[in-house]
């Protein structure tokens, strides 16, 4: 969960840094601040609401959502690892955001609307994923405060690193983290989804360890198969990258 929040934090930081450096820190930090307040409100409302649901219904819904999220993360990470999709390059995204921010017209005084909106949207969208992961893991383990602390800690690590380097965190191996998070989300999704649907795991909670090993091994095998497929495809003329 910590790693998932770390990845989302890196993506949000890239956008805030680009907005701050081109449109002024006041607007970028204001946008980030308002987005964090909105996120806190979402967690405060969603957290208690989820704990009211029967545990099996909660596990079925949460398991299903974690499976969908986990498989989407794994899909992207495998496509990148096998060469079918470009690696997520924070430096390129940072350059794109900088160019877009510089091209937009500047407001004469006060809070710059463009900088505020870009920063607000970036932090809110990436933060929503963090909030979702915090609420689902926390409610399943009946400990939302601990999950929230882990999520906030991950975001603080990213912010501290961003303040130190004052540039996008290009050295974070984002695709590896995304792959690892995809494996974890998928494994927990399988476990909770099956339990919520009414099935019982042979070894109880210990089955999670076997599921993580199974998902990891299967995903590595898929990376290998997709790399071979990519090698074959690159020999054929007129083939491009996947969408």
């Amino acid at each position: 969960m910590f790693a998932a929040c770390l990845v989302e934090g890196v993506e949000a930081l890239t956008i805030v840094l680009a907005a701050g450096m081109t449109r002024g820190w006041r607007s970028a930090l204001a946008g980030m601040g308002v987005a964090l307040v909105v996120l806190a409100a979402i967690v405060a409302v969603l957290g208690p609401a989820l704990t009211v649901l029967p545990i099996d219904t909660l596990r079925l819904v949460v398991g299903g959502l974690l499976l969908i999220f986990g498989l989407q993360w794994l899909r992207k990470a495998i496509l990148r690892a096998s060469g079918f999709k470009a690696l997520h390059d924070e430096e390129a995204i940072f350059a794109e955001e900088l160019a877009a921010a510089r091209a937009a017209g500047r407001e004469p005084r006060g809070i710059d609307g463009y900088g505020f909106t870009v920063s607000f949207k970036g932090v809110l969208l990436e933060g929503l994923e963090v909030a979702f992961i915090v609420v689902t893991f926390g409610s399943n383990q009946d400990n939302i405060p601990l999950a929230a602390v882990a999520g906030v800690a991950a975001v603080l690590v990213v912010v501290a690193a961003g303040l130190v380097v004052h540039a996008p965190l290009t050295r974070v191996p984002e695709n590896t983290l995304k792959f690892a998070v995809g494996v974890m989300l998928t494994s927990f999704g399988i476990f909770w989804g099956a339990e919520g649907a009414g099935a019982s795991w042979p070894a109880g909670d210990a089955a999670i360890l076997a599921l993580v090993a199974y998902t990891l091994a299967s995903s590595l095998l898929l990376v290998d198969l997709m790399r071979r497929r990519h090698s074959r495809r690159s020999l054929e003329p007129g083939r491009g990258m996947a969408a």
């Binding site: 969908i68 999220f69 899909r75 496509l79 009414g198 898929l222 990519h230 996947a242």
Partner: protein, 59 residues
């Protein structure tokens, strides 16, 4: 107003469903089958199969 509702709907779709809607559909069907059979062994092979199928379709 309608534009904002549409934009929120599009955001929600992109946030939950993502790049390949077939994954979400397959997950719902697999959970239903696991519930119908009350069997833990349904999800692991189906999940890996769906992931492999989605990767092949994307390439």
């Amino acid at each position: 107003m309608i534009g904002r509702v549409r934009a929120f709907g599009a955001f929600l779709y992109d946030f939950v469903i993502g790049d390949d809607p077939a994954i979400a559909i397959a997950v719902v069907l697999a959970l239903a089958l696991a519930g119908l059979l009350a069997a833990w062994w349904v999800l692991p092979p189906v999940v890996v199969g769906v992931l492999g199928w989605s990767l092949v379709r994307a390439t």
